[in-house]
Point group: C2
Chain length 404, copies 2
Amino acid sequence: MKKIEGGVCAPAGFRANGVHCGIRKNKTKRDLSLIVSDVRCAAACVYTQNLVKGAPIAVTKRHVADGYAQAIVCNSGNANTCNADGEQIAEGMCSLVEKYSGISAQDVVVASTGVIGQPLSLEPIAAGMEPLVKGLSEDGSLSAAQGIMTTDTVDKQVAYTFTVGGKECRIGAIGKGVGMINPNMATMLIFVTTDAAISPSMLQKALSADVKDSFNMVSVDGDTSTNDMVCVLANGLAGNPEITESGKDFTVFRKALNKVTTNLCRKIAKDGEGATKLLECKVTGAKTKQAAKTVAKSVIKSSLFKAAMFGADANWGRVLCAIGYSGANVDVSKVDVDFKSRAGVLEVCRGGSGIPFSEDEAKNILSQDEIEVLIRLNDGNGKATAWGCDLTYDYVKINGDYRT
Amino acid sequence: MKKIEGGVCAPAGFRANGVHCGIRKNKTKRDLSLIVSDVRCAAACVYTQNLVKGAPIAVTKRHVADGYAQAIVCNSGNANTCNADGEQIAEGMCSLVEKYSGISAQDVVVASTGVIGQPLSLEPIAAGMEPLVKGLSEDGSLSAAQGIMTTDTVDKQVAYTFTVGGKECRIGAIGKGVGMINPNMATMLIFVTTDAAISPSMLQKALSADVKDSFNMVSVDGDTSTNDMVCVLANGLAGNPEITESGKDFTVFRKALNKVTTNLCRKIAKDGEGATKLLECKVTGAKTKQAAKTVAKSVIKSSLFKAAMFGADANWGRVLCAIGYSGANVDVSKVDVDFKSRAGVLEVCRGGSGIPFSEDEAKNILSQDEIEVLIRLNDGNGKATAWGCDLTYDYVKINGDYRT
C-alpha cells in the first residue's frame, strides 16, 4: 500500500472541480464542488444520526437506494437544513448536474455544509453549474476539496494504491471538518473514490464497519452535525475481479479504505476549529473493545482536558476524571497514564495515583503539535484510538459569531 | 416562603467560619471552612457518580451511614483525589475537628475541592484548625462560603424561611462551582443547613428527589467532577413536629429545599468558569418529562450554542442541532424556538424551520447577561429547565493553565 497524489482523482475514471458560484460572499472562496465518474459506480453512504437532518441527506438516500451513483455535488456556505423547501432545492441541484453533465439526477449524491436554517437559493448554483462541469478534470481534486471547506484552514485530500486480484487499484478521498464534529455513525463530509470493482453490498459493509473505528472516533467539539455524510464511489475501472464476498480481496480493500479514513480522521482533528494541536488518545488493556472506545472518546471530548493541552499543562487528573465519568466499567486503581510526543514520553500516573515528574519536561513534551495520551487500563485486551484537538481562544472566536 | 440573610447560619443553632491555613499559596484566599451545629443533625448526602471519587467521599459515606452528622469541614486548593493516602488524610481532617471542637470525628462530613492528584498534607490543616474552630460564629457563613471557592468569582449563599407544623423554620446553604460541572446525580459542593425537624430517611428522600431537577440540570463544561457532593444537615431546633412521612409538611419542606437549590443552580451557572451570561433552557411540550430534560441538557451543553450566546449570535440552528442529537424522541417538524431576555422576546423558529427576524433586535436581546432559550416541542406535556453559561475566551484561559 503506497501513498500517492491526486486525491479523489487518483483512481482511474474520476474527474473533479470546484468553483465560486456566489453562495459565499467572499469571491476568493470556492463554494460548489463536483466529482464525477466516467461510468456508474457502486455507491455506499453512512449518514449522521442527528434527528435534524439536512435536506440533501433525504435526497441522497433516495438516489443511492439502488446501490449505484455516478456523481457527487456539494456546496459550502449553507447547510440547506431546517428550510421548508430544502429537499426541492437539493433535488434541483441534482437536476442541474444532469442538465450540464448528462448524468442522471437519480445517480447524483448531493451534500451541503454551512449555516443551518438559512434558505438556500438555486440561483447561484444554476449559474455556477456550467463552468463547474466544463472545468472537470483529472487534476481537479484540490479545487473540489477547497469547494467543500467551511472553517477548515487546509484542504484535506489523500490517496493510496493497493493490489486486489493481481490488479493495481487506487483509492482517494477529500474531506472537510472542522466544527460540529462528534462521533455518531458518520461525522463531517467525506467523499471517497476508488477504481476497485466491488459490489454495492460489500462496499456498504466495508464502509459501515470502518466508520466505527475511524470517523466515529473523532471529536472536535461534541456537537454531532445535521449534515454529516461519508460516501464511497467504486467504479471498477481497475479491472480486478469484482469483490462480492468476504475473503482476502475484501480484507485488502478494507485495509486500503481504513488507511484513507484514518488519515482523514487525523487531518480533521488537527484542523479542528481553533485547534493548535492534534490529540490522539490510545487506550489499551480495557475489559472490552467497547470499553476502550468509550474511555478514549470521553477523554478526547473533555473540555477541561482539551484546554489543559492548549496550555501544555500536564493536568493528568482531568484524564482520570474523564475516564471515571465515561460510563465504562474501569478499575481506576489499575490505570496508568503517559503523555507522549516527538519530544519524548512523560509518565504521570501509575495505578490510579500520581507519580512525580519534571514540569519542565512536561512543558517541553506538551508544547509539540501532536500529542498522544496513552492510557493503560491493565484489565483486559480491548483497545481503541480516538482523535481530537485542543480547546483554544480561537474556537470561541470562530463560533462566537459564525453567521456574520 | 421569604428570602433572608445569613446563609448556612440563618437556621437556629448553626455556626460557621473560614480561614486561610496555607493549602493555597495566595494568603488572601481562605482555604479551610467549617460548619457546625449545636446539636446532632439528621444528615443526607448525594455524591458524584464519577468512578474516580475523591477520598473525602468514601470517608463521608462512612460517617453519615447512621443518618446523622454534626459538622462539615471542607478545604479548597486540593481535591485529595487520586492520592494513595487520601482516605487517611480525610479521616485526619475529621479527627482535627474532633480535637478542637469536641464533635466526634464520626459525625463530621468532610469534603475537598481543587487540583486532582496532588498529595494533600495535613500540616496546614492541623495549624489552621484551632483558629478555625475558635472563630466559629453565627455571622460566619460568608467566610465559610469563601473558604470553599476555587475558580468561583463570587461567594454563593442563600437562605429562606418557611413554616412547618405552625413553626417558622429556616433553610440556608453555601455552594461552590464553577468548573468540572455537569449533571450526574450531584454536582459541585453544596452544604445546606436547616433547623427543621425531619427524619434522616425523609431528608434523604427529599434531597435525592430534588437533585434530579436542580443540580443535575446544571452544566458548565460537561465534565463531571470527582468530588461533587450535596449535603444537608437538619438539626430540628425550630421545634416543628418531626417530619417522618410524606404529606403536607414534607411537601412544604421539599419546596423550601427546592427554592434553595434552584437559587444555587442559577448562581453556579452564572458564575461558570469564564462565563459572561446565565443561560436558562426551558423545554415544554415534550412527550415525557425525561425527554424534556434530555433536550434541555443537550442544548445547554452544546459548545457551539454556548459560543454563539457569548457572541450574542442568534444562531438558532445550533439549538435545533442539539435537540436533534440529544437522543430524545422528538418530532423536529413541530419544534418552536424563542430567545428571551429582559430586553424582549425573539421568535426564531416555527415548526422546525426558520422565520425572519431583525438582527439588530437579536443582538439587543442576546447582549443581556441572562438569556432564556424557550423550546416548545408541541408534542406532549413534559417540561424541564436546565441551567448553563456561555463559552468564552476566559474559560479557555482559566483551564489552559489551572495548576500553576
